[in-house]
Each structure stands twice: as structure tokens, then as C-alpha cells.
């Protein structure tokens, strides 16, 4: 056996054992089979956008500098960076919730498109990686406020759009059930 392939095979074998325990551990943590929680609790938009926007406004820092001296803007910047990180975490949470809803829809569907599923996995991985990079940049002192706003708007609109579509589907299902009942009575 080729030496490179041999070590690759040993590494793959050990990786399989690790993956096996990781996957089983995840499965054992799922206590309930109820998927309804994810559908009922569609993410709500973060309501503090105006405050976040204002907290990152350069004019606000200038005003603080003019009124409170040099130290005040620095302290404000630190505190507001912490708030922005919390805000980013909230966006991530909303995003993950939407992903979870999408997974539930896939699980409960009789037909699943491989390309759509693959695309979602790929996008989610890219999102996570980029979000980590943004966090690092924030911690290094860069505050990308306009981009964060756009990020939030997109996450929120996705959640709202899904909520609307789900509501429409619910209405259609109820209508279909009613029609079926009426035709049975006739």
C-alpha cells in the first residue's frame, strides 16, 4: 500500500470515529421529535436598529468629544463596540433560526432538491466564516455600521418573508381542508 494513502486511510479512519461520536452526541441531545417549535417561533426583527445606528454615528462621537473631552469618546467607542458585538450575535441567531426553519421544511417535504440543499449548506458556511471575520475586525477597532445595517435588514426581511409565506400556506391548507369537508358532506 502506498505510504501516503496508508496515512491518509489511518487519518480518515480516526476522523470517522470522531465524526461518529460527534454525530451521535448531537442526536442524543435532541429530546423531542416536535418540530413545531421552530415553525411557531419565526424570528422577530431586532427592534433596536435606530439606537444601534445612532450609537455608531461618527457625529455622535464628535459631539461626545466636544462635550466630554477626549476620554469620553474612547469609552463610548468601547462600550458601543460591545453592544455591536451583541447585536451581531442577535443577527446570527436570527439567521440560524431561519436556517432551522428551512431544515424543518426540508425534513417535512416529500421531495427535496439536492442542489437547493447543497446551496444552503454552502451559503451558511460562507456566512459563518464571514461573520467571524467581521467580528475580528470589530474587535480590532473597525466599526462597519452601514454594512451591519444592511446585514440586519436582510436577516429581518428573510424572517418576515418566511413568516408571511408560512401564514399564506396555512390559510391555503385551511381552505383546502374546508373544501374537502364540504365536498364530503355533499
Amino acid at each position: 500500500m502506498n505510504a501516503v494513502f496508508y496515512f491518509a486511510a489511518v487519518a480518515a479512519g480516526l476522523a470517522l470515529v470522531g465524526l461518529l461520536f460527534w454525530a451521535v452526541r448531537g442526536a442524543s441531545q435532541r429530546k423531542s421529535f416536535d418540530h413545531s417549535g421552530g415553525l411557531d417561533n419565526v424570528p422577530s426583527p431586532v427592534n433596536n436598529m435606530a439606537q444601534i445606528r445612532q450609537s455608531m454615528d461618527p457625529a455622535d462621537f464628535e459631539f461626545a468629544k466636544a462635550k466630554g473631552g477626549r476620554e469620553l469618546p474612547a469609552r463610548l467607542r468601547r462600550e458601543r463596540r460591545r453592544v455591536t458585538l451583541l447585536y451581531l450575535a442577535a443577527i446570527r441567531k436570527d439567521f440560524q433560526h431561519s436556517l432551522r426553519v428551512a431544515r424543518i421544511i426540508a425534513v417535512l417535504s416529500p421531495e427535496v432538491s439536492g442542489s437547493q440543499e447543497y446551496e444552503r449548506i454552502r451559503l451558511a458556511m460562507i456566512f459563518r466564516w464571514r461573520l467571524q471575520m467581521i467580528k475580528i475586525r470589530l474587535l480590532l477597532g473597525l466599526i462597519p455600521q452601514p454594512q451591519l445595517t444592511a446585514l440586519w435588514q436582510m436577516a429581518a426581511s428573510m424572517a418576515m418573508q418566511m413568516e408571511e409565506t408560512m401564514a399564506k400556506l396555512g390559510e391555503r391548507a385551511a381552505l383546502a381542508a374546508e373544501l374537502a369537508l364540504q365536498s364530503e358532506k355533499q
Binding site: 500500500m1 494513502f5 496508508y6 486511510a9 479512519g13 480516526l14 470517522l16 470515529v17 465524526l19 461518529l20 460527534w22 454525530a23 451521535v24 448531537g26 442526536a27 442524543s28 435532541r30 429530546k31 421529535f33 439567521f95 431561519s98 436556517l99 432551522r100 426553519v101 428551512a102 431544515r103 424543518i104 421544511i105 426540508a106 425534513v107 417535512l108 417535504s109 416529500p110 421531495e111 427535496v112 432538491s113 439536492g114 437547493q116 446551496e119 444552503r120 449548506i121 451559503l123 451558511a124 460562507i126 456566512f127 464571514r130 461573520l131 471575520m133 467581521i134 475586525r137 473597525l142 454594512q147 444592511a150 446585514l151 436582510m154 428573510m158 418573508q161 418566511m162 409565506t165 408560512m166
Partner: protein, 262 residues
Amino acid sequence: MLELPTLTLATWGLATALTLFLLLRIFLLRLYRTYPLFTLYLGTNLLQTIIGIYLYQTYGFRTVYGYRMAWTTQAFVVIARGLAAAEICYRILGKFKGVWALAIRLLIACAGIVLISTLYFGIRSYKLAVITLDMSLEASIATWIVGLLVFARYYDVAMERETGMVGLGLGLLSCCKLLNDLVLEKYVQAYLNSWNYVSSAAFVGILLLWNWALRRPVTCAVPELLLNSAQVYQLLIPQVNRKLSALNQQLSQFWRAESSKP
């Protein structure tokens, strides 16, 4: 049988006793209706032991005929284990029709690639070809089980504890056998005796896990699902993906904007 080392005989005897105990329990609790192929696998294993005892008593432990026959029976055992793995896969994902259709295609493809690549790169000599074949089959079963459990984790699919444990046991057994075969392949002379002990010890450990997991009837059965219409998926999922894509685009733009700063 006198040719066999005492430790080999002891682990062999223990494995046989545990298999018998597990089979007895499966029949008493009527679990063979839930896991027919897993029961078949255990039965095949027991049959292999009976054939092995007969062969080694008649022809001796180190004869060519005994060696050939032992490996021939091993092929049936590995195939039966593959079927049991497929059964566990179906029990976990089978009710989710869409995900099952996707998973089965992907898992067959992955297991097939692993099987072919292990065979292609693994064969060094025809003397060790049977070990390579065994290794390839074990690798594909392990890939199959791990892939299944990763799928279940990704889609948040709940599974019966017993089924999960049987799946874990099958996956672990294949991984252990794969790693054991890999070491044997490299150090064939020095490792030959230890290979047997490690293989038997791993099997005994897995049998203990299965005996513990199947100590009572499958109590918490996963309820049957009422699936949505295909329209729901077709309507919602492309929307989600488009939004995710736009979100990533936004992040990408931000990344470029930040990078271009002096």
C-alpha cells in the same frame, strides 16, 4: 482447537455467549420485527462461529483451506452487516421521504467512492487482497453509518435511542476493524496475533453496547409524520436560499470595502 491460543478461545467464547444472549433477548422481546436485518447479521455471525469451530477442529487453525473458508464466511458476515447498516439508515431517515431520497443517493455515492478507492490504492499483493477487500467493505460501511448520523444531526432528526445505539455499534465496529486491518496490512507478521485479539475485543465491546441498548422493547417509537405538500418546499426553499445568497453578497461587499481601506 488445541492450536488456538487460550486468549483467542476466551474472547471467541465470550463473543459467542454475548451474541447468543443478544439473539435470545431479541427473540423474547420480539425485536426481530423491528430489526430483521440486524437479527440476520447476528445470526450470520453465530453461524460463522459454528463453521469456524468445525473447520478448525477438522482442518486445523493454520491450514490454507481453513484460512480460505474463514475469509469466505467473513464476506457473508460483512455483507450482512452492510444490510443491517442500511436497515438502521432506513429506520432513522426512511420516514422523511425527501431527505431519505437525497441521503440514499449521497450515501451510496460516498460509500462507493470509498470502496473503489480503498480497493484501487490498497491492493499491494494478492496475498493480502482479502484483507484489502475486508478493509474496503468496512470503510464503506463506516462511511455509510457516519454519513447517516451526520445527516440526522444536520436535519435535527430525532431517533429512537435503541436504533441510535445499534447504528453507533455498527459504525464503531467497522471503524475498529478498518483501523485494525490497516495496522495488520502494514505489520502483517508482527501483528497477526494481536490483530485477532483486537478484533475480538472490539466485537465483545460492541456486543456489550448492543446488549445494554436492547435491554428492553423499543419504547419511545418515533411517531409517523404528516408530510407537507411538495409545493411548500418548492415555494419556500428557493426564497431562503436567495436571501442567504444576498446576505452573503452583502458580507462580501463589506469585506471588499474594508480591505480597500488604507
